[in-house]
Subunit: 358 residues, 4 copies
């Protein structure tokens, strides 16, 4: 499996390569332009960051939640996890979790172990977690092992799948019973919430998790993730911990203005719904042509099993992302829909497929 | 001494509080808008990052220099220093150096010590460095101490001062003689090069240092610093080291497009010259009124000694930055000129000063 | 699975609880006493440490090998691995490897990831390693993942098993082909070499590995492990790296004198042979009684599957170590033979077993 | 200034080179021999470690103090400091403090900064500390700097000097007022308490500090330092933090038995008194001959200013430690008295001096 973008610059062809191939959503760009010449204080103390925090607190339905902004996703995971874990603790993740595989060791760089559990379609099964924790804490002799201090999940997962409310509730209850922090990586949170399969609101996420992120980069921002802590879970002197890890932007307005825009008049959800709408069309488009899917993904990433001959011809007209070999003559590829994907892009993909399969 | 921006949002008043109070220079914003909807690959592999690298290599006059982009200044220092130091080494800095004081321990977070030397107006004296290194390496018994592996300087320094070519040459020769890396933090590099006192070009910096940064954030960018390595000093697998430290932006276009613009048609130097021109006017404006300066700074930060009564009245009309107490009745404050500072701002400051001293 | 010793002090009963329940082998204690009042220089620069290094170089048959002494096993692994890995690298281990499970995150504390592979009886299969590396290095897009820089194996493994020469040769060749360091944790190295199943000498280990440890703690020392590097793999300024990690003993004589004794007249091998001899008797003793073994371990740790009722009665007379539940009514327990185990101890165990099974 | 022992093995000559040139005090060696063959549980859970903890709790007069044993001094400092500091904090030390200069960056390796204060004869002046803390905490804008979380002092200091009770009380009060931990490095604690100038008991140290170490290595042990925490300052899961840092000895009996012996019948204090008695004789011996002292050290390290010609001749007969150049023709050297120093050694030194100065 590889990351969403290759070494070369994408050419002008229709691209489903990742959900961060375009710049900022026009509404965000507009606000960046409008506020550009205002003198604002630095390091996230500006009015737009303040407004964005308040709008996010309103959206999550928890007036005393603590909200901060960080430029990138790996940085967000590393800063949050390492600021919250205690010396003797590690973080539990699915063996396919982003922090376990695709962050170049950023969690270990902070001195903490990622404790991996088996996964199913990218998810941790509550029963698996429970068995692991109960085995760990019932064994009285743990001086030589890393304590689990946090559970990391992503929503949607690496495979685009979702935890239903029932499962997230179960994970939340297990974490509380054992005193662990539940952290949800929401790099694509909007796409998860806007999915036809989702049975949760942002307020449910807030209530069930101790801390979670709201990804901006993949949902219309140039950069930026919001981190939302329950008040009693917010690290003390978090700005210092951010600064110490190089995560405090001088012009905090950059993330502040964008999140202010995203959380004004429900734009974050509107973008997400449009993307999911097109992603479902994209899935349908493969289904109609009997092209098999690796997973029935309910979100914006679709994992398609292509015959290698078809793949070779298709990639002359459309760009997408190699995921993994499926068998001798088939390959799994990922099509990602982003805010900049248009209905025209979908039609062009349709034409390309039809041209090949004719 | 405090950082350039306080907790509160700046109000509409004329602000000399820092050189990062405004967003992006209009020329950069224009390019961000123009390129916004192009599909581009991620992580700095896009065409604009490529072009920006080439333009910087041209500007520094070293065709095989290695150029990368990082979002912020502290992150740049931490990533560069910790990627280049070897296990047993630390980095030498002036005791007032940014990495020694104002980065919340970001270098130590990477497991390396900052070895501080006495400073003069923010600078390390070559003789002081030589004595330190000669004492260190001539003593044969160094198993218990941190080896100096790098010298960190900034240009301009924290006090706005500059190393003349003669001093930088001396530092460079000492570093080579002892096998140390010379790293120049150029968060305000343009302001240094554009100063009337500067006797160096970008190519001189490149030639005399092993690695240096070209600050974007303070010279017109929303965020971003370029790091320039001599080829044989560039760390292997630097993208992995960046990723591991959370410093690899998904939408690398954000820094790529901006640096491409900054290094097109000499914009970086043009912005810098305008800023320095206004900074010299600002200095003159205090001098004419016999307001004493802490240091005769040749760059965009001016350190002014104000009577506390004057300070109290002035800050009702103009915002600036508290630096340190000077004596019982005087305070050092910093006025910073940025790309968004106008001649009108200077006139307004003049008026405010005259109104007070009348 | 738990570590070899519980919270409580062992009482006077016959103990097979671990191989570090006794102090120093009498020959080592004798030398500690004889040299005790000699004035010696510190930090491993004393004559006994020097002699021990030379004797080990002779024993491994590599005159320019670099030898250092470190107090404990976890410390040895952490110091060696973190001194040799480069910034972007992690260390491969079996998922049951000591560094992966039982060192409380000591490798991650150094900022590096442990990359785990599936295991069989505690070992990494060369084919599994080859597939992993070939998949990793043939994929051209690895900016987001940790590079494998080293393979960690133990000999004997956590399950007492051994790599035959053929397998170690295969691992060694794979490591060379891919440029990885092969590190063998020899906390119980002597027991491995003295096993009837072993088909290797110390010189083979030296030749096939880049670095390995020779455990003292479990083979007669109060504390201490020797680390042996091939010359071109020895880290520069290793004493500084040791000191930085708190691993440089002031009275280096403590490890020096003991290793000097262990490598005088083949004592290390003599102790090991005696222990293995008794361990084989112990295994036989269970076999004769048709008590099943989890693994046919060829070294000093024997993993026995006991009926829970038998276990309950046996532990009234003999102490051993809980390993893991086997099924509803059976438990795996570990019997460890050490240098202080006597034939009398074995007879007493035999009596205890007979008393129960009667 | 260099560490106490050079690269070469000390020859048979009379040595004042350091206070760790000899092995174990005979009383400790005796107990190691007597207990050697007892089967004992590992990792500090053995009965002797337990007894030693109780005897130390009695000696410090605090029944609920938490006591642990660690093999070496640098390791002790690193483990204690990094286990107690919070993410955003650093540790204050005198600029000559052992952790600031002679531990190869062990504190920074743990990710924390050593904040240095000016010193006088190795000590931090309470007024200096107060000014530093008051300046820090009264400035409201500290997102960019490392918070002071602990004060590190040593007793005796690097220069053999002592804090009188009044000064330690002042430091203690300042730490409490600002919420900082006061940690006293007692690598030579016994020598400090046994000094004619000392006006404190072990119970005073316990009462005034939050955590301190009781050095064994320099006061008769082969290795080992005891760490004593006030109960509410003891880190949770400290064994895991020790293990994670490679500081948990498998055969904890090694430190347990030795500390048990040191704290039986006041041996620790008896050894210390004998050493100090001889150190005062050594000082007197120089004074009588009008050889100047750098500092009037009240403990076991004496810093003597020798003419270089005298030094050259003296070192043919006696070994001692180079400290620093004093001027063109004089050098400061250190004479250290240890438990193995005899009255005969002193007489031999006297003879050597007389032979030279004749």
């Amino acid at each position: 499996m590889t990351m969403g973008s290759g070494k070369e610059t994408l050419t002008g062809m229709i691209s489903f390569e990742s959900d961060y191939i375009a710049g900022a959503h026009p509404a965000l760009m507009k606000r960046l332009i409008e506020t550009n010449s205002e003198p604002l204080s630095g390091y996230g103390t500006d009015r737009y960051s303040g407004d964005a925090r308040q709008k996010i607190r309103d959206a999550v339905g928890m007036p005393d939640a603590v909200v901060e902004f960080i430029a990138g996703g790996t940085q967000t995971n590393a800063v949050v996890i390492s600021s919250l874990l205690r010396d003797w603790e590690g973080v539990i993740a699915a063996e396919t979790g982003h922090i376990a595989v695709h962050e170049a060791g950023a969690i270990e760089y902070s001195g903490h172990k990622v404790l991996t559990l088996p996964q199913k379609e990218g998810k941790i099964d509550p029963e698996t977690l429970k068995r692991f924790l109960s085995a760990f804490f019932e064994d009285g002799n743990r001086e030589h092992t890393v304590y689990p201090g946090m559970v990391y999940i992503s929503f949607p997962t690496e495979y685009g799948t979702l935890y239903p409310k029932k499962e997230l509730t179960a994970l939340s209850e297990i974490c509380r019973a054992y005193g662990l922090i539940l952290y949800l990586d929401g790099a694509r949170l909007g796409f998860g919430l806007a999915s036809p399969e989702a049975d949760m609101t942002l307020a449910d996420i807030m209530r069930l998790c101790d801390v979670f992120s709201i990804g901006g980069t993949k949902i219309g921002a140039l950069c930026g993730e919001a981190v939302v802590f329950k008040k009693d879970r917010a690290p003390r002197h978090f700005m210092n911990s951010m600064k110490k890890r190089g995560a405090l932007l001088a012009k905090g307005r950059l993330t502040g203005v964008q999140f202010d825009a995203l959380f004004t008049d429900g734009l974050y959800f509107e973008i997400s719904r449009q993307v999911i709408g097109r992603a479902m069309k994209l899935k349908e488009l493969f289904r109609k042509r009997n092209v098999p899917l690796l997973i029935d993904s309910p979100t914006n990433q679709q994992f398609v099993i292509l015959e290698d001959a078809v793949l070779a011809r298709l990639k002359e007209r459309v760009s997408f992302c190699f995921w993994e070999k499926y068998d001798e003559s088939h390959t799994v590829v990922r099509f990602a829909v982003g805010w900049s994907t248009t209905d025209e892009d979908l039609r062009a993909l349709e034409d390309a497929l039809d041209a090949i399969t004719d």
